[in-house]
C-alpha cells in the first residue's frame, strides 16, 4: 500500500496495489526458448500461489505432443543473439550444417539441467502438481491433425479460443502471449 499526498485539495488518497490472481499464458512456437519461457512463467506463477493456465497453439503444440515434447530444438539460423561458446559470433551459415542444430540444442538442455530446470514433461508434471492447467488449441490441433491421445497426459483438454477467454475472466487476471 502506498500513500499519496495530493497538494490541492489537501486530501490523502490511498493507492492500493491489487495482487495478480490469475495468468493465462499462450505459447505459439515450438523452439526450446519459446516453450521454456512459457513453462518458466507458468510454473513461477503456480509457485507464487497465482492461478495459472497455459495454452499451446500452432507450432507450440510440439511442446505437448508426446513424441515431440522432449526433442525440441533451438534454431541456429536467423538468430543474431546466437554465440559460440566463449562469446564469439555464431555465423548463420554454420547453423545450416547437419547436426549443428541438434548439438546446440543438446548444449542448451545440458546447461538448463545444471540450473535444475527440468525436461519438458517433468516441468509440466511440476506445473500440474501445483494446480496449474495445460490446454491445446482446437484450431491448431485440427490443422496439424493432432488428436487428444497424441498429446501428453498433462494436457487437460483441447479447447476453442472462446473457451480460453471464458477461463480468463475475473479481477486480477492477465493474458500473456510469449
Amino acid at each position: 500500500m502506498e500513500e499519496q499526498v495530493l497538494d490541492k485539495p489537501i486530501t490523502k488518497k490511498v493507492k492500493e496495489d491489487k495482487p495478480l490472481k490469475k495468468v493465462c499464458i499462450i505459447c505459439a512456437k515450438g523452439s526450446i526458448e519459446d516453450v521454456y519461457a512459457a513453462l518458466v512463467m507458468t510454473n513461477g506463477a503456480v509457485m507464487e500461489g497465482i492461478e495459472a493456465k497455459l495454452f499451446f497453439t500452432f507450432f507450440g503444440l510440439d511442446a505437448i505432443t508426446k513424441n515431440q515434447m522432449n526433442k525440441l530444438h533451438t534454431s541456429t539460423v536467423g538468430n543474431p543473439a546466437m554465440r559460440m561458446p566463449g562469446g564469439l559470433p555464431f555465423p548463420s551459415i554454420l547453423g545450416l550444417l547437419p547436426g549443428v542444430e541438434a548439438g546446440v540444442s543438446a548444449m542448451m538442455k545440458k546447461q538448463m539441467e545444471k540450473l535444475d530446470i527440468p525436461p519438458v514433461d517433468e516441468f509440466m508434471d511440476m506445473i500440474t502438481a501445483g494446480g496449474g492447467e495445460i490446454f491445446a488449441c482446437k484450431l491448431a490441433a485440427d490443422m496439424f491433425g493432432v488428436e487428444k491421445e497424441d498429446l501428453s497426459e498433462h494436457v487437460k483438454d483441447i479447447i476453442t479460443v472462446g473457451q480460453f477467454y471464458e477461463m480468463c475472466g475475473g479481477e486480477g487476471t492477465q493474458i500473456i502471449f510469449t
Partner: protein, 103 residues
C-alpha cells in the same frame, strides 16, 4: 521489520518477514511463523524444513524440484504441505532467506 519476540526469544526479521539469522531458529519459532501463515506443522513439515536448512547451510540454491527429488515428499505433496507458495512459505518457516531461484 526488525526484532520480534517469538516463543520467548528475540528473533531478527527483514522487511519481508524472513529471518535474517538462521541460527536463531528453533521448532517453537517455526510453529509461530507457520501459524501466522495458517499452517499447522507436522513431522512431515519438519522433515522438509530440516532438508531446506541443510541445503541452505551447504550453500545450495533451492528449487521445488530439489525438494521433490529429496525422497521426503513429491511436488504435489509439497504444495499440500505449504499451500499457495510452497518454496517461499517453507523457506520462511525454516528460518532461511527468501528463495532466489526461478524454478
Amino acid at each position: 521489520m526488525g526484532q520480534v519476540n517469538l516463543a520467548g526469544t528475540t528473533v531478527d526479521f527483514n522487511e519481508e518477514g524472513y529471518m535474517t539469522d538462521p541460527s536463531q531458529w528453533n521448532k517453537e519459532i517455526a510453529n509461530e511463523i507457520a501459524s501466522e501463515e495458517g499452517i499447522e506443522l507436522t513431522d512431515k513439515h519438519f522433515e522438509v524444513l530440516q532438508f531446506l536448512r541443510d541445503k541452505h547451510t551447504a550453500g545450495e540454491q533451492l528449487t521445488i524440484r530439489k525438494v521433490g527429488n529429496s525422497g521426503i515428499v513429491d511436488i504435489k505433496g509439497l504444495y499440500q504441505l505449504f499451500p499457495g507458495g510452497p518454496l517461499k512459505k517453507s523457506s520462511r518457516i525454516a528460518g532461511i532467506p527468501k528463495p532466489a531461484s526461478c524454478v
